[in-house]
Amino acid sequence: MFSVFQYSFIQNAFMAGSIVAIAAALLGYFLVIRGLTFAGHALSNVGFAGAAGAVLVGIHPVFGLLIFTVGASVIISLIGKQIRERDVAVGVVMTFALGLGILFLSLYSGFAERAYSILFGTILGISRDDVIVTAVFSSLIIVGLGILARPLMFSSFDSDVAEARGVPVRALGVAFLILVALAVSVAVQVVGILLVFTLLVGPAATANRLTSQPARAMLLAIFLALAYTWVGILLAANTIWPVSFFIATLSFGVYLPVRLLSPRWWGSGSRDANDTI
């Protein structure tokens, strides 16, 4: 099984997959605590329209992804909160973007494989140059989150007091959404548009059900994301099934029992029996 490591495309997959997993897990932690997981999925659909449009006009799909997702993030930040949080509004825009992407693909007279790779991930087909680009963007996300870490957490859990303490809550929200756009763009390379959720949200959601200590939750999310990615690539390299399928299955397969069993664990914080209210 491990003989596949001699191939450079497998090495590329592992390198790119690893750095993406770390960035996705960290960003996913904040997506989960801010309740923006659906927005993450919506952005991936918008990205799909951008990627398909890019293919249609002959430029690299990642550029289309980035332009559309970052643009959508900025627009989302500017529109009113009431509109932004209506699931109907998000759903309508998201499915329209999907339809637009399908139109672009059908107009494209080239190989259908490009469509397939955007929708389902292309990690086994990337070059060493792609690895470098992916690593740069992922590092940007990680560094960006590192800088925003404390005020972002503060405003996620406690926005009233954060604002009173001088934290720029609104600006942080915009900056975060732009980081989400970047993360969606890199995660798409590994698992594709349709399954971005499994890498962005799965590990972080699982970790947050297992621990309420932020540092531990982030480390656990990274560990899970790396595990899913490595196992997924290995299994895909040795079978004919796609990487994204394995990652999605692992992500769901681990989350489900944790979710079902965790309410019983959750009550075991260190509370004194003699506590007075």
Binding site: R150, A164, T211
Partner: protein
Amino acid sequence: MQELKIHDPVIVLENVDVRLGELSILNGVNLSIGAGELIVVLGPNGAGKTTLLKLLLGLIRPSAGLLQVLGRTPQRGNQAIGYMPQHRVVEPETPIRTRDLVGFGLDGHRWGIGWPTRSRRERIDRALKEVDALSLADSPVGLLSGGEQQRLMIAQALLTDPQILLLDEPLANLDLAHQQEAVSLISRICRTRGVTTLLVSHDINPLLQVTDRVIFLARGHSAIGAPAEVINSEILSRLYGLPVEVAKVMDRFFVVGAEL
């Protein structure tokens, strides 16, 4: 800028107006609050109580008049002011511990990741101990009762050793027994630390024993003074612009004819 002398008032409002477009929220408000006072802010909904807190926090600016907090114009992010907002429902699965949430009060506003040092942990433990919540330090916040959550928000507000404490409806969502405990806690903190405390409430009665003075806001107008000076039929009728009757029964105030 002069040095703040020991008897200078900590909060000063002179003829302060706050207008939002056409709407006048506060109208010619005059207040002077001294260091260490425990003041209760009363009034019906929409009277401007939260607006007053936001003015002191530097989140909004007066449309007219003079406003000074600790001798200066209020700025956002003043570490000398501790703030406890109105209680919000916290879901049980919220993935953060008491000590982490309280810790935001110390350095949550600073960029970067921050390194957990022993002194930081000790400061948080001290604040939790002061509100009798040390045993809750490692518990997920969502599992705490409403009263416990209020206590940790007070601990969070105390972490920077503020000179002013602003509490927005700390007694809401608490039953009578727990209200008394909360009142004792707040009063103890105010007196031992000498921190000027402004407390917004819907009901003066649980607080009568500990209140120094009362600010009553209605229709954007204000009156300040000892409880009996302010909560009477004459003053309240003037503020409300309607006939209001105040009855004192068993040392408690009951306001009839308007929402208190």
